[in-house]
Structure formats: C-alpha cells, structure tokens
Point group: C2
Chain length 263, copies 2
C-alpha cells in the first residue's frame, strides 16, 4: 500500500499552499506531468517526486514512470486520498515534484548579463504573473524583478501558468531602493502607463543605448508613485478611447514583444 | 422586505449559468457595478437590474442607485440569500443587469464595415475569450467570429473579462463554410501557428491591400485543419526555442496590436 507519513503529507501541503513555507525551505512544488518532463529535459535537479497511485492507469502516467526509471530518479507513490490532501486542483494528474527555488540576489544583476529586465510591481494575480514569466522567457528577457506586494512566483498557480519556464529565467525580489541603485548604474526605467494617452507612444521609445527595466503595475492600481518618480520614460500603448485600459497580460505581452524586437 | 418570486430567481440562475437559456432568450447577465455604469454611459438599453440589499451599505452602491434614479431606470432589490442563488462569485458586489445580446448574422459581414476580423476557433476558456474581446475593442478590430466549440461570449466569466466591451464590437457565430464564403469574397485568411517557426514571421506579413481575418486556435490544439487549409498566410511570432509556445491571450494581443499598427 502506497502511503507516506501524515507529517510528510502535512509538510507537502504547507509547501503547496504557503509562501512562508516555500521561503523558509527554499523549495517549491511543480504539479503535473508535462512540467516534470520539461524539468527533466532541462536537467534541472529534482528533490523528490510523489505520484498518486491512480496515475498508473493512464498512458501519460506509465510513460512518465518509464522516464523516471530510465533516468534512475527516485519517486514515491501515495494514495489518491493523500494526494488530494496536498493539491487543490479539481482534476489533478497526480504528479508533484519538489524543486529547489532558483534564488539569486539583486546584487547579482548587471548590465552585461541582464540588459533587458521586466519589473512587476504589486502584481497580485498568480496566473497573470505566471503568464508574464512565460512571455519573458519566450522573448529572451534577461531577468524579472518583483517589488511591492507581488504574487509569489513559486505559488502552484503561477508555476502552472509559466508552463515550466519559471526556472528558465532569473527572478529577483527587490525593494524600491534596489531599483534606485540600478538606475544610478545606468539602467533606463521605462514605465507603462495605465492611461492610454500619457507619455510617449510605445513605438517611439528609443532603447538603443542603455540596458533597461520595463515596469508594469498591479491590475487595478498601476505602477506605484515611487517607481513612477524614477521613470526615465512613461510610455503608453495607443488604444481606442472607448476602451479604458488593457488587461496587464495583454499590455505586457505587447510591450515585451515590441521591446524585444527593438533590442 | 426585498424579495422576488422563486421562479424569477430560478430564471435568472438559468440565464446566468446556461448558454442554452441565453440562446433561447437572446438575453445575458452582466454582473458588477462598473460594467453597469459603462453600459449606462454607452446608452445601451438595459432590460432589468437586480440589486442585493447589502449594496446600500457601500458608497459605490449608493452612487449607483443615485445614477439609476437620475436616469429613471427601474431596479429591484433582492435579498442577499436570493442573490447568492444566482451568482457564483465569492464576493459579488451585488448587481445583476439583464441585457439584450447583440446578435448579427454572418451574412451582414462586409469588406467595407469589417475590414479587420478576428476569428477564435474552439477557444474554450471563457476568461481568455473575454480578454481577447477586450483587446479587439482596444485595437479597433471590426468584428469577432467564433467557430467550432468556442466559449459563449455571453458567459458571465467572459462578460467580466471583457470589462464591458462585449457590446462594443459585433460578435458572429459561424461555421467553416461561412469562412470559405468570406474568403471567396476577398478576405485574406491569416492563421497563427502554434509552432513558433512555421510559416512567415508576423513582422513580414503584408496586409496592405485586402480585408483580412486573423485566426487563433484553441489553447491546446491550435487552429483546426479545416481553417488551416483555407489559410492564405500562416504566420508565427518568433520566440525562444526553449519556450514551447505563447499563451493564446499573449499571442493574440501581440498579433492584434501588430496588425492594427499595420492597417
């Protein structure tokens, strides 16, 4: 019978649900078959793998077990009931991988290795943050900075929305003072306006000479005053006046794409 | 005491939850204060308004009631318990507006009034569809076509994600045969590839001469073979090879923005 101790289940449940526990342990949980396969393909070290017994019933599950055995990776079966104590998905595939977070200090940021940074300020929706991380990976952004009251990039919902790209790109947790330092070091601060007619049309922003930080704000409030005060350029994406604003995922996708084409 | 009949509650509940009921009645429900204010500002006729009693406790609620009274619009109070039987939001604001769907036949599409169409093929996530509708409104797309097994644009989740723009833009329900007819009439069919290296780089697509239909597929499967076979151009958004694909909201935002800048 596949079972692990009650305490272990409780630990995994905490890791799954609580940022505090992820911060304390330096670990996070990636859930699902595809993401584990991606992690294996990228040779990212995995701390442990837990499989719900029920996974053996599917071809996808059998195939995953084959891969784990071929790679000589250890894994443990747990009962479906135990699995459901950990996960909060309605129809989970039945795979939990425990992975080490990729923690890098803000002081490691430098103009040479990180010429194109994206900053999310108090972006609170985990799914939106995950999608933006995926877009940053797609368009070769060289790092993501989180400030204010942002969602945890290692929240299971965020990790899912990144489709496995959360480990492809350095993610930094920073305070506004850190950004002031980066600005002094030569980074241009480009702030997206929620309002669609303030500042410079995105097509006119010149980024040819300096490394830059592209700043997006929270879903409702936009970018904080502290960051707006540091802006070298405030830019907008021109939209129909009937429409009040773009959703932050759409706005950031357009801006990240546009700036990646310019740089 | 604010109460309406049990049958009326059941009707509203059906309208809120079931596409079939929305199709039958030609009505849908928009939920929330802001969306109702937008609808009033745009002079869109409202069939009826239901307010949870609790709404009077908030400034936002009082302010809305002021507006309704000034505009001489009728509204009915219902108890909080009744409200919660209809809505499935966790923290609803307590406003339901019943609105007539804006139904237009595919045969009304024409090159002069609808030079830039967006087609969503079997796009099943209501939130994603809503965000795309919002983007289409923002970038002056002249109509949205839905084919295959797409989400209902009048689903409450979709309506919420559109932030009130669902009535700003004509939305057409069509079959593949209708698209073949539009192609014969001179529309160019531009299909986005899920794969990021198939077809033409989006920056190279020329849309200077013809009206066009920009086609996006479902989250998992992409665009159906029937539509791919009709394509005049298959285009891709160039992304890092590490990243398998873009999320459909990001991809469509980038494409709609890019084509709106070209046209």
């Amino acid at each position: 019978m596949a079972n692990i101790s009650k305490n272990k289940i409780l630990d995994l449940r905490e890791l799954y649900r609580k940022k505090k526990e992820r911060d304390r342990s330096g670990l996070f949980i990636a859930e699902g078959v595809k993401i584990l396969r991606d992690i294996i393909n990228k040779n990212i070290p995995v701390e442990s793998v837990f499989l719900a017994e029920t996974i053996e019933a599917s071809d996808k599950g059998k195939n995953l077990i084959d891969i784990l055995e071929k790679k000589k990776m250890s894994f443990q079966f747990i009962s479906r009931a135990q699995y459901e104590k950990i996960s909060n998905l309605e129809n989970p595939e039945g795979v939990l991988s425990v992975i080490k977070k990729n923690i890098i200090k803000v002081s490691a940021i430098n103009k040479k290795n990180n010429p194109f940074l994206v900053l999310c300020d108090s972006l609170q929706n985990p799914g939106n943050l995950g999608t933006i991380i995926r877009d940053c990976s797609a368009f070769n952004v060289s790092g993501i900075i989180l400030t204010g009251d942002s969602a945890d990039p290692y929240n299971p919902k965020t990790v899912r929305a990144t489709t496995g790209t959360v480990l492809d790109i350095p993610i930094f947790q920073a305070v506004y003072g850190d950004i002031a330092v980066l600005k002094k070091e030569g980074y241009k601060i480009l702030v997206s306006a929620l309002d669609h007619s303030k500042g410079v049309d995105i097509a006119e922003v010149d980024i040819s000479e300096n490394p830059f930080i592209l700043v997006f704000g929270s879903e409702g409030e936009g970018v904080s005053e502290e960051l707006r005060n540091m802006a070298d350029t405030i830019f907008y994406i021109p939209i129909n006046k009937k429409c009040e604003s773009l959703n932050v995922v759409s706005a950031s996708a357009i801006a990240i794409y546009s700036f990646s084409r310019k740089s």
